[in-house]
Amino acid sequence: MSAPSRPSTTFGVSSRDGRDPLGYAVAAMNKLAQSELLDRLGIRKHAERAVFTVTRGGFRTATTAGRAFAGAGKRGRPGTRPGAASARGVFDLTPTEDQQLLVDVVTELATEVLRPAAADADTACATPPEVLAAGNEIGLPILGVPESLGGLSDERTAMTGTLVAEALSRGDLGIAVATLANGSVATALSLWGTDEQQATYLPAFTGDQPAAASLALTEPTVLFDALEPATTATTTADGYVLDGVKSLVPRGADAELFVVGARLDTGANALFLVEAGVDGLDVEGDPAMGVRAASLTRLSLTDVRVPTHAVLGSDDGATYAECVRLSRLAWCALAVGTGQAVLDHVTPYVKEREAFGEPVAHRQSVAFMVADMAIELQAMRLLTYKAAARVAAGKDASREIGLARHLCASKGMKIGLDGVQLLGGHGFVKEHPVERWYRDLRAIGVMEGGVLV
């Protein structure tokens, strides 16, 4: 299957729509508007930035190898696993002291570092290195890595990861994804890696300069179903050949290591560890409506050869399905944090903004929108927490994660939509961050992979 690697030339017009005479006239005007004449006369206001990076699609390049991952550890021996969090069977909404401490630190990072950097990062389609460094400094990449492997956790961290993702995205969702992308791969290695895989790759995350890495699951097809990937892994004598295209891959141009989802000859899905720089692995910019600070890319795999031991976890589909779930859970947490950011922003705004002689918040039509925002946000949060706590306790959470994803996709988008509406014209312009949150919240329900808890 070949997915279009260039932007569509139909500009989003459906094939059932067509030009009428006025349409042809308008199209001709548009040709003129695009001609270089305007530029030579110096009447175009903004020069387009023709840099590669990820602000534009269509510039395809081979991935470049990062650090060399020296093989280590024992092939085939199971890796170290974080244990399940203790469960007392008490209904409780109180985080542990450690979790609260971490959330406080992350909240400060989100407020002091992420939020001020958010608008520029969104425009540049890149998170500044110093912001990424700040995330590394507080240990985000190794949050889900067991202590014995140089990480921070002594048990399953799905709940902690959920709280952290929520707190980060309260600052900015795009940057949150950028800062969580490599830690997601490290967590995946901790959950499913063999002794060899952990010994080979985890040191690159636990050191001073944590590796960039990315989890690639989404594909550029309409009605994409993560459980039916078109990317294939064909068995060969000494490993697999991977073919396919992955879209919306965070920081793909920088990543030194990818975890890629693919379907085996057996019909089961599996995850593969693919090092950047391997033959046939190309990357290009894949900018989208939102989540732009995460430098989204499209990853093309053409006859990419990987060894047998590149399979991460089981080859019967179980690990792959679990990975999809944990990723969806992380996106739910990001939706909750972003929703909270919207609520935090509109609350003072509607109390200050006056119309007809009093604050607009004094009108029920406005106040009730805020009330519904608060109600649905808390509903999203509780459902996400329930799912996360079940994962942390080692229970099946497939139903809860599925439901949380449905709720966060629809109610999260509604919060973004109402956030813009409550600010009126001010919500539509970039003076306020609500238009960015609107764009970011559309990602929930669309994105698969990229982050996981």
């Binding site: 008490v90 109390k351 009330a371 509903a379 497939s398 439901l403 329900g445």
Partner: protein, 404 residues
């Protein structure tokens, strides 16, 4: 302390027992008393006796609106107590039948009020009394501070005059807790509640309403004409304290009862979801939690949306009860729970009728009945709009004068 939102282990047995009672005692008579409106469901006497027995044994809080009084005792750690037990068991009972749950002897809202605000002497005197609650008047619904029923002190008795409507179990109960004002000019601070025993001269049940749903529950209009009650029957303080929130105290009862109504909506909606899923699966519809809704059938997509709404509404309900169990303020969360559960209850029960077509609409199944029963749950104990008003004021930090 560990975040966990699964049902508390120690209450699972109570929940499952309530489910069995609902399945085996309420469901078999559900349609019968929907059809025979105003007939007394005599089967409930046995059930009420059973609940009394369980309550006396101290094993649990029972299945109804028993005590919602805050327990001020010092307990170490996080508590999963009476409030969680109540919402969980009420939800299960309402999975059986909302109207019958409301008709359970000695489990009325008046009992909640007595349990919440009565002093020790009154608790003892009114023990075993089935008490209903009379707040609403023909001209006063949501703005309960505006009631016109008066209570005038004459000697050692209060003389009550006025008309109350929508009194749940107003005919079958032993006593009515009536809201009346001592002095209309002093506003909400002058509103007090009085226990009026049945048979007191001057109190008369005028009529029973014919309703859209919860038809097994009797809803009475009661008139008070120079009805004299002993002054010891006033609940709480007789003083009119305009400075602090005397009325706020009365309204605070709602913080405890609103999660219970949310529980009713949760139970009723779950009944619809369970049956609809069964019927849909028989019709060949499969519901997959992990596939995108868009690659499933429209019926499955609708179902997933409803179940996500339901699950989150139930968690809001549990949150409100958990806060109460742990002595934390829950006014905001109680209103959030009732707002979400109320509207989700209507949406789910109505959508399940639609999904199941004429099977859902016909009286052959109970889906149409649940779609009628659920509507009241978005109205009584504070309508959807009142809940939104409360949530909005809290979130925005506005007074009732600013956000009217």
């Amino acid at each position: 302390m560990t975040i966990n939102l699964d049902d508390p282990k120690k209450l699972v047995q109570l929940r499952d027992q309530a489910h069995q009672v609902a399945m085996n005692m309420l469901r078999p008579i559900s349609r019968k008393y929907d059809a025979a409106e105003h007939a007394y469901p005599k089967e409930l006497d046995l059930l009420a006796a059973m609940i009394d027995g369980v309550a006396e044994s101290g094993a649990s809080s029972g299945a109804g609106a028993a005590g919602v009084k805050r327990d001020d005792e010092e307990h170490p750690g996080v508590r999963n107590g009476t409030n969680l037990a109540s919402v969980m068991s009420i939800a299960e009972m309402c999975w059986g039948d909302v109207g019958l749950l409301l008709s359970l002897p000695r489990q009325g809202l008046g009992n909640s009020a007595i349990a919440s605000v009565a002093d020790a002497e009154q608790q003892e005197r009114f023990a075993g009394v089935w008490a209903s609650m009379a707040i609403t008047e023909p001209g006063t619904g949501s703005d309960s501070a505006n009631i016109r029923t008066t209570a005038r002190l004459d000697g050692d008795e209060y003389v009550i005059n006025g008309e109350k409507i929508y009194v749940t179990s107003g005919e079958r109960c032993d006593a009515v807790v009536v809201w009346a004002t001592l002095d209309r000019s002093l506003g909400r601070a002058a509103i007090k509640s009085f226990v009026v025993l049945k048979g007191t001269p001057g109190m008369e049940v005028e009529r029973l309403e014919h309703k859209l749903g919860i038809r097994s529950s009797d809803t009475a209009a009661i008139r008070f004409v120079d009805c004299r009650v002993p002054m010891e029957n006033l609940l709480g303080s007789p003083e009119i304290d305009t400075s602090s929130g005397g009325f706020a105290g009365a309204m605070a009862t709602f913080d405890n009862t609103r999660p219970l109504v949310a529980a009713m909506a949760i139970g009723c909606a779950r009944a619809s979801l369970d049956l609809a899923r069964d019927l849909l699966e028989q019709a060949g519809v499969t519901i997959d939690y992990e596939r995108p809704a868009h690659v499933q059938s429209a019926a499955a997509a609708t179902y997933l949306r409803m179940e996500a709404d339901w699950e989150s509404a139930r968690l809001l309900m549990l949150q409100a009860a958990w806060l109460a169990d742990n002595g934390k303020p829950n006014s905001l969360e109680a209103s959030m729970a009732k707002a979400k559960a109320g509207r989700v209850g209507s949406d789910i029960t109505l959508s399940c009728v639609e999904l199941c077509g004429s099977v859902g609409y016909g009286e052959g199944e109970l889906l149409e009945k649940w779609a009628r029963d659920s509507k009241i749950l978005d109205i009584f104990e504070g309508t959807q709009q009142i809940q939104q008003l409360i949530v909005a004021r809290r979130v925005l930090g506005l007074t009732s004068a600013e956000l009217k």
